[in-house]
């Protein structure tokens, strides 16, 4: 693992988005240059797949930024899913999909998330929605840091899955 080339000057908002963009790109890169069969590979006993990670992060992005922070309803395809019946829907369906469609969904969610972050008054701005149990709202700063660690942890899962498929490791840029 290399240290990301993240600008050391600039605002806190730019710094957090740059770190998040780095991990997002790592996850996308891990999915590139593989056949559909390779993409369905699991590193057992874990049930995770590379497309599952990317599709999961797509809905996580939309859930935190558009839904929780701005208070919007989830868009499609997420809003039509029966989440009570299929809690892991995005994980299950992603390996059956064209990887281009999965990554487009992730890229679209990222673009929207970055627009939302840029438009916010400050990192202190609080989310419209609140925690269902504690009733607390989240600051944009908290959401950004959470997204960095969640994306990085999944990038770690993707590291080992990708290495098991074709030996690729690290923060590579393919295709």
């Amino acid at each position: 693992m290399t240290t990301p080339e993240i600008p050391k000057s600039g605002s806190e908002r730019e710094l957090l988005v740059a770190f998040l963009d780095f991990q997002r790109q790592v996850v996308i890169d891990k999915c590139l240059g593989l056949s559909k069969e390779q993409l369905s590979t699991r590193l057992e006993p874990s049930t995770m797949t590379l497309p599952g990670i990317a599709y999961h992060l797509a809905v996580v992005e939309e859930d935190w930024f558009a839904s929780d922070f701005l208070g919007e309803e989830l868009g499609e395809p997420w809003s039509s899913v029966d989440w009570d019946a299929t809690r892991d829907w995005e994980w299950d369906v992603a390996p059956t999909m064209d990887i281009g469609v999965v990554l487009d969904a992730y890229r679209t969610a990222i673009e929207r998330a970055n627009e939302i972050v840029e438009a916010a008054d400050s990192l202190e701005q609080m989310s419209v929605r609140k925690h269902p149990r504690t009733g607390e709202h989240w600051s944009l700063r908290w959401i950004l840091i959470h997204m960095i660690e969640e994306t990085a942890r999944h990038a770690g899962h993707a590291d080992l899955i990708r290495e098991s498929i074709d030996g690729e490791t690290g923060d590579f840029r393919s295709d």
Partner: protein, 155 residues
């Protein structure tokens, strides 16, 4: 807030290693050569580097100072196979404790380091965010290795 997120992930690493014996700490999920013991020992060195050497501008501490890095760039990972689990956990905890002491001496996240890379110093904020993403990414590696050892998943 940054410190709280980093502490959460430090605790996650301890959780991933919780209850493992020496063989389990040295278990690989092939073809990766990573082990949970190796990850924890590596992160002890990463704490030492970023907080002791970069943030505080101190000399490298032992055992990292006299390690044979020239012979093995991944010494921190590899030597873990020869160490008792308790030794690895202690080294990580000692490094974390030192990091926390050094951070307590700094009054702002905008503090910038004496050490530079590409002509620019690091802010404490930059170091924190980097430590969060690095520790979280290694927790991701540890998640899959631990699940392969005994099915335990840590969230």
């Amino acid at each position: 807030m940054l410190n709280a997120f980093l502490n959460y992930y430090r605790a996650a690493i301890f959780d991933i290693a919780d209850g493992l014996d020496a063989d389990q700490m040295n278990t690989r999920l092939e073809p990766s050569t990573l082990t949970i013991g190796g990850i924890m020992h590596h992160l002890a060195g990463v704490e030492e580097w970023w907080f002791n050497e970069v943030l505080a501008n101190n000399e490298r501490a032992e055992p990292f100072a006299s390690a044979p890095w020239d012979e093995d760039r991944d010494w921190d990972f590899h030597v873990a196979a020869t160490l008792e689990p308790g030794t690895i956990r202690n080294r990580y905890q000692l490094a974390i404790d030192r990091s926390n002491r050094l951070v307590a001496d700094v009054d702002s996240l905008d503090f910038t380091t004496v050490k530079e890379r590409d002509g620019e110093p690091f802010s404490l904020r930059w170091i924190f965010v980097h430590m969060i993403e690095e520790t979280a990414r290694h927790a991701g590696h540890g998640d899959l290795i631990r699940e392969s050892i005994d099915g335990k998943t840590v969230s």
